[in-house]
Amino acid sequence: MAKIVTDVVCPFCGTLCDDLEVKVTDDDKQILEVYNACVIGTEKFLHSQAKDRLKVPMKQDEEGNWSEVSINEAVEYTAQMLAKAKKPLMYGWSSTNCEAQSIGGEIAELCGAVVDNTATVCHGTTLIAVQDVGVPSCTLGEVKNRADRIIFWGCNPAHAHPRHMSRYSIFPRGFFTGKGHKARKMIVVDPRTTDTAKMADIHMQLEQGRDYELLSALRVALRGAPLPEKVAGIPRETIIDAAETLKSGRFVVIFFGMGVTQSLSKNHNIDIAIMLTKDLNEHTKAAIMPMRGHYNVTGSGEVLGWQFGYPFSVDLSRGFARYNPGDSSSNDLLRRDEVDAVFVLGSDPGAHFPISSVKKIANLPSVCVDPHYTPTTAVCKLHMPVAFVGVEVGGCTYRMDAVPIHARKVVDAPEGMLTDEEFLKMVLKRIKEIKGVA
């Protein structure tokens, strides 16, 4: 016999769908089927069932040979590494729960570490822009119930957040939006003809990297001031048409992704996108929201915020929290040889950092905590496998609109497998012993 677990939260992307149903065996050991999730989400659940899954910590010796070690040895290596380092980097945190993030913060404080999350290479620029000009935003339910003008800027939800459009932004019928997508106008700004762009009422296929100019032109058009014939490759008429479409809406939402946060001008792009939103609030109601990637990168920013006051790239090495992205951010530290140990949990810099940074990690004492064997594992000295958050252990996670949702446990983790939180607690305890603090 099998049973169905309902209201399951998907621990993959920042859409954080919480309506999944998972069929599991009666003994809570195996997932049989996943309903309601998109293909990526389904894969995440099924992947936890892989037969070749890492179950025991592994350590790499000088020659590059891997051997299995005990959990106690893994704790000891990690604790010694962090306790002895002058300025360790503790990176990741976006694919774990807030409970683990919170203990990570305590360890970082004790060891004078730099704590950074994946925002450093995706929406960090957004966070900086918010510090410059703020952010008028809303929850995704406001989009569902009120919004009739949707912009996707530099993002492709059809592939990256597959259920976003059906759950929140384009298709659902909400309280004031009973006609669903029929009463919504969709504008996509993207140099590529993505699958999202193909669905748009207006696709502004701008020249790559010229987002700032186009956003600026939209602000001009809103004011009814003169524009040149073309801006960023887009004809004046299209820009005016788009501005009018926005103005005539009752509720406008701009969603934006890494296509714009990591293109030229970086945080300045977001600055002006936010200012456009602010301008729109003088004509109608408008909000803007980053399409956050990992299911709990937002949570990491929140936990760091209430513990230390900054959302990412927090340098605790001087005994007080310091924040200066470009200086206290992971890649800058690695490339300047400013850190002497690297601890990774809940992300995969081996796959996403520039190769120059990855090489630096390979030369440092390093630990990777992850359910999977990842490219980061390959360059680390120790790999600690753990239970899947949101599959084998619950915990708090924050959606892209910062709504906190409690992820659920669906099946048991393999026998003897620790959770992130448990592993971090053991490391914290050991560090306290090493440092002789209560």
Partner: protein, 569 residues
């Protein structure tokens, strides 16, 4: 657990009527006891010092999504304020929006033991509780916001009192909330369309109900449920010249109403940060104080309580569920603006603000807050707050006490303003020579607030049987003459005992205490219609499922303290 005998201090306890007599206070097993009950106490020499129950803050924004958004979008707020961790303390920083650790430490250092988070968006309740869990020492509770909630708007439009009450019971339960908070009733829902309700009779778009009906209806439901605290109101039209009339209209809605609870409160309505609601004039040029009108009303009606929302003349961060007001503010000062509308429930905005002593309006606002207190007849009903961090950070409470206790200090402050004379002209402050004493300060900061919260049986007094929450200040009311000593002493408690444990000594934090989270569990008769409505709204309009909405005690609440109320009769 250690026993303490706090000897020879000048004790101020409005509940016991002690006005500075030298009395010994005994603490054992977490409670106040008779000194004869002690067997081997540690003796604290409080000679020459002031002894009071620990402070109880009725209204501050100290945890949750807008507080944290404020932290994260203001790195500049952390400049010059960071302290390294030491002993029991984690590193801590921030000025107007301190980190959770600093929030706990700073309240404890001021001798406060209990603080209420004044606005919890229900959908974000989990976040509020996560932050409170990481805030050491102080007991906390949070008020979920109800004044723009679609369930409430619909039930009240149809005059469905019992359904409103059943929904309140469900939401308090589900969010682990403490009281019914109302912020800009109807106006914040209107803000969903970029609109507002500027008077209590402006209809809410689509919902066809007025703010007056919302407030009155929620009051009736609150009394029907016999909740420990009354409804807690921030009315419409905050911050605008001439708004005192809206505030008076709000007060008048409750004329003749009596509380029905069994927790000992005397009010049916608490109006918060009344300073922001007491403005005369019709523009910023002829802006003036209407504190006299407000206090004439408050003094003559004993079924309401207020807190002052004192402007402290600092750079701070404003944040409120009054979404349209924050938009108005960013248009006024052109500083950065964050806003977040919350589906079916509420909204919030955040804007940094500088209350400069060189700006006339700020000076007038500063005067109004003090006037409200100085014109009050009954300080058991008028409380000190700064609406932290809106009118200034809570860490300025000792300074507010100084201003209230010393006319000399007030005059010095007005003299330091660029437009001091204009401030005097537009206010009553110069004519007020009243100086509050420590007994009155104890009313405004512990006895009165504890009573208004329905927590008079636990906090706010040193009566035998109360919680062992005792603050000792190095302040001698018989010899001290310099007002600066007030500010210094009340910001650096000589001792704070929290639930019988010594957590502060000479301004240093010794322990993180055993912080509790207070919430109200009110039982009502089963109500199938409300249950059905909830299920339907979650299916159709919310973006989280009903099953994922509840905040469970386990994991999210540090030492949950459930206050049970039975409203089934």
């Amino acid at each position: 657990m250690a026993e303490y005998l706090i000897k020879n201090g000048f004790v101020f306890d409005p509940v016991l009527g002690i006005k500075g007599d030298r009395t010994d206070i005994a603490v054992k097993d977490g409670k106040i006891v008779e000194s004869t009950a002690l067997s081997n106490p540690q003796v604290i020499d409080a000679a020459g010092k002031t002894v009071m129950a620990a402070g109880v803050d009725i209204h501050a924004h100290v945890a949750g999504p807008k507080v944290n958004a404020g932290r994260n979008f203001r790195p500049e707020d952390k400049l010059f304020t960071y302290k390294a961790g030491k002993g029991a303390m984690r590193m801590a920083g921030g000025f107007s929006i301190p980190t959770t650790f600093k929030t706990g430490y700073e309240y404890a250092r001021m001798g406060y033991g209990t603080v209420m988070e004044a606005a919890m968006p229900p959908l974000y309740a989990r976040h509020v509780h996560e932050e409170m869990r990481d805030t050491p020492i102080i007991d906390e509770g949070a008020y979920p916001v109800f004044g723009n909630n679609w369930f409430v708007l619909e039930y009240l439009k149809n005059n469905e009192l019992e359904n409103t009450a059943a929904y309140i019971s469900w939401l308090l339960q589900t969010t682990r909330g403490y009281a019914v908070k109302i912020v800009n009733p109807g106006g914040t829902e209107a803000w969903g369309w970029g609109l507002n309700c500027n008077s209590i009779h402006d209809p809410v778009p689509y919902f066809d109900i007025t703010p007056a009906q919302i407030m009155k209806g929620l009051m009736e439901a609150n009394e029907y449920l016999k909740l420990p605290h009354s409804i807690h109101i921030h009315t419409n039209n905050l911050g605008n010249p001439g708004n005192y009339e809206t505030t008076l209209d709000t007060f008048k809605l409750f004329e003749g109403e009596k509380p029905k609870d069994s927790f000992g409160r005397s009010q049916v309505m608490h109006h918060t940060h009344v300073q922001f609601h007491s403005y005369g004039g019709d523009n910023w040029g002829n802006f003036e104080s209407k504190a006299d009108v407000m206090m004439d009303y408050v003094n003559a009606h004993d079924n309401l309580t207020i807190d002052i929302g004192q402007v402290t003349l600092d750079e701070t961060t404003t944040m409120t569920a009054d979404g349209p007001f924050e938009h108005h503010l960013t248009e006024l000062n052109h500083l950065k603006w964050a806003n977040r509308d919350v589906e079916l429930e509420t909204a919030a905005g955040i804007v940094p603000y500088i209350y400069s002593p060189d700006i006339k309006v700020c000076g007038i606002q500063w005067a109004i807050g003090l006037e409200l207190a100085l014109m009050a007849k009954d300080l058991m009903r008028v409380f000190i707050t700064t609406d932290h961090p809106n009118a200034g950070p809570f860490t300025r409470y000792p300074r507010v006490m100084k201003w209230l206790m010393s006319q000399k200090a007030r005059e010095a402050q007005i003299d330091a303003m660029k437009y001091g004379d204009k401030v005097r002209d537009a206010t009553f402050i110069a004519g007020l020579d009243r100086e509050l004493d420590l007994y009155e300060i104890a009313q405004m900061t512990r006895a009165g607030t504890a009573k208004a919260l329905g927590l008079g049986h636990m906090y706010g007094s040193l009566k035998v049987g109360m919680e062992g929450d005792v603050a000792v200040y190095d302040y001698n009311p018989e010899t001290a003459d310099d007002p600066e000593l007030i500010e210094k002493a009340f910001g650096n408690a000589a001792y704070l005992f929290k639930a019988g444990e010594m957590v502060v000594r000479d301004g240093d934090i010794l322990s993180n205490g055993r912080k509790r989270t207070l919430w109200v569990d009110v039982k009502v008769n089963d109500n199938p219609q409300v249950r059905r409505d909830i299920t339907e709204k979650f299916l159709k309009y919310y973006t989280v499922s009903e099953a994922n909405y509840e905040v469970h005690e386990e994991g999210y609440l540090r030492n949950p303290f459930r206050i049970e109320v039975d409203a089934t009769q």
